[in-house]
């Protein structure tokens, strides 16, 4: 898809200029989240924070904030609308591709910007589970975290490979893995080769 066409589609433009559930320091002074998750690093140009209110495992309200580009803002706005009213387990398993589809797909070079929202969301849910003595409950059933800085799991790597990331560079483009501390590189490359072998 052409990045120019995408950025100017009505849906993306709407979510970029009027982002839903974005944290407003004036209006949301009294917003008390049950859990917060933050991923990304402004050194790499973007960072995302997700705040959740949760009752009986249902997400009742969310706020988020970001230092990020238009794609990150639009994707996270769409994600935030999607997860309100959702069970935390279902929310945890939302794939970036589901959000991208709702925004009418994503251009290749914008995918890595748009995955921050769901990473932050998962980080927040993980914090919530930990606070309630259920640490790693969803992680264990589905995925193993490879990159601790950005909360990227083996499932994410698998998905990226299925979407066509067949080398370290394109895997980084798709997931941002190894762009913060880099200590996961060996393990991630091993998985990359494994998945390329399976899906390539």
């Amino acid at each position: 898809m052409d990045v120019f066409q995408w950025l100017y589609s009505d849906t993306v433009k709407d979510h970029f200029t009027n982002p839903r559930n974005v944290y407003d320091p004036d209006r949301d002074k009294d917003f008390r989240p049950d859990a917060e998750g933050m991923v990304g690093n402004i050194r790499c140009g973007d960072q995302m924070m997700f705040m959740l209110k949760i009752e009986d495992d249902i997400i009742t309200d969310v706020r988020w904030k970001t230092y990020g580009c238009a794609s990150a803002i639009a994707s996270t706005s769409m994600l935030s609308e999607t997860v309100v009213g959702m069970n935390i387990r279902d929310a945890y398993h939302i794939r970036p591709a589901d959000i991208a589809n709702r925004l009418g797909g994503l251009p290749e070079n914008k995918i890595h910007c748009s995955v921050l929202g769901d990473k932050a969301l998962r980080a927040a849910i993980d914090v919530y589970l930990e606070q309630h003595g259920r640490a790693g409950e969803f992680k264990d059933e589905s995925a193993q975290i490879i990159c601790k800085c950005l909360n990227i799991s083996d499932k994410d790597i698998e998905e990226a490979v299925r979407q066509g990331a067949h080398d370290w560079y394109t895997l980084q483009e798709a997931t941002k893995i190894g762009t913060v501390c880099g200590s996961c590189k060996a393990k991630a490359e091993e998985l990359l080769h494994e998945f390329v072998h399976i899906y390539g």
Partner: protein
């Protein structure tokens, strides 16, 4: 809805001037091959030689024959580096000195020589973008083949001291090249005063057509063709003459020279006005580039806490066209190499916007931008994860 359109990206490219356009429309019929001896060929030849004289005058060259037409800045720069490759591979004097803030076509041409085994130095610059003269002097020596330093930087507008850089290089017997693509038409440029051997310029930055540029080569300085073929341009650049482009270039060059004093004063005034309005209306900003030695039209500003691509697109939705040093805009993880070279933290580099003004910029447009910008920055900062207080130190 307000559907205003304000172009502030003149360093990327400029619109074709109506005067140049009119001349080019007439020139569409000058189809003769300038290398032919018959009447049609001679007509084309005469037009081309007139352009050569205009370009020579614009860059202060005594001899019009020192000007060679190319397809643009990238070709001119590559022609110089290719020449150095052909000379340097046969001799011990082969060191190349350039800077960390050059245009990618110089950086990549220099990196290619490095791959080929040439010693290549990318000089660091200071916080304002001026090359570190101490580091430069330390690198100079009898092994230096070429010093290539841009006359003015495209992103931050800093103007290097080419005259002094050339004087030091000449004392060591090195050749000197300057990429003056951004300087020409904006500030006085003189190959004689600077005493450079090679100078690159491009036509589409001075309100002429794209696909045409020139390389100045001082008499007796070595030059090898990048494109081999016929005897055009004394064998330095083969290929049938681009009549249309060259004729447009001639008029654009003539007007650029004629109007330079007025341009500097008027556009410089508008830049100062935009800078002052931004400083007055938006807290916590940093103006990048040298405060004095800078292009009159280029204003590079960092807005920490707000991401550059988001600023750019927000402005675009208001009809304002600018560019950014943010990584997101380029699709990589690295912000602008120029902003990193002047020592900005990634937090400031990712949040930078370049406003480049031009001949058609008006006071009204500057006011429009200064009115639309503050709420955009405020909105993005409000939703930002970056605490502004923590960046206060970096702004100075």
């Amino acid at each position: 809805m307000d559907t205003r359109y304000v172009y502030m990206d003149y360093n990327a490219t400029t619109p074709l001037r109506p005067e140049v356009r009119d001349l080019m429309v007439r020139a569409l019929d000058v189809y003769g091959n300038a290398s032919s001896l018959h009447a049609l060929g001679r007509t084309a030849h005469a037009e081309i030689e007139e352009t050569r004289a205009n370009v020579a005058a614009l860059i202060g060259a005594k001899e019009a024959s020192a000007v060679y037409f190319t397809s643009g800045g990238s070709e001119s720069n590559n022609t110089v580096f290719n020449t150095m490759f052909l000379i340097g591979r046969k001799q011990a004097r082969r060191k190349i000195i350039t800077t960390a803030i050059e245009h990618p076509c110089v950086l990549n041409a220099a990196a290619h020589l490095k791959d080929e085994g040439f010693p290549v130095v990318f000089l660091p610059v200071d916080r304002d973008g001026l090359i570190d003269m101490g580091a430069y002097r330390a690198e100079l020596g009898p092994d230096v083949l070429l010093v290539s330093v841009m006359a003015a930087n495209n992103e931050i507008g800093t103007i290097e001291n080419i005259g002094e850089i050339a004087r030091l290089a000449k004392a060591e017997g090195a050749f000197v090249h300057t990429d003056a693509t951004q300087a020409v038409g904006k500030v006085p440029v003189s190959v004689e005063e600077w005493n450079v051997d090679y100078l690159t310029l491009s036509c589409h930055k001075i309100y002429g057509p794209k696909g045409i540029g020139a390389l100045y080569v001082r008499q007796k300085a070595p030059i090898e063709p990048l494109i081999r073929g016929g005897h055009q341009e004394n064998g330095v650049r083969a290929g049938t003459y681009n009549n249309l482009g060259i004729i447009g270039f001639g008029e654009a060059a003539r007007l650029a020279k004629e109007e330079l004093p007025e341009y500097r004063q008027r556009v410089g005034g508008l830049r100062a006005m935009l800078r002052d309005l931004i400083l007055e209306r938006i807290p916590m900003v940093r103006i990048n580039g040298h405060p004095v030695h800078a292009l009159p039209n280029t204003l590079n500003v960092s807005f920490p806490g707000a991401e550059g691509e988001s600023i750019l697109l927000s402005l675009d939705l208001e009809g304002i066209e600018v560019s950014t040093g943010s990584a997101c805009a380029s699709g990589s993880l690295e912000p602008s190499h120029v902003l990193m070279a002047i020592g900005l933290g990634p937090e400031l580099a990712h949040g930078s916007i370049r406003f480049s003004l031009g001949r058609y910029t008006t006071e009204d447009e500057v006011r429009y931008v200064a009115e639309k910008l503050p709420p955009i920055i405020a909105r993005l900062r409000k939703m930002s994860t970056v605490p502004l207080e923590e960046l206060a130190q970096e702004i100075r």
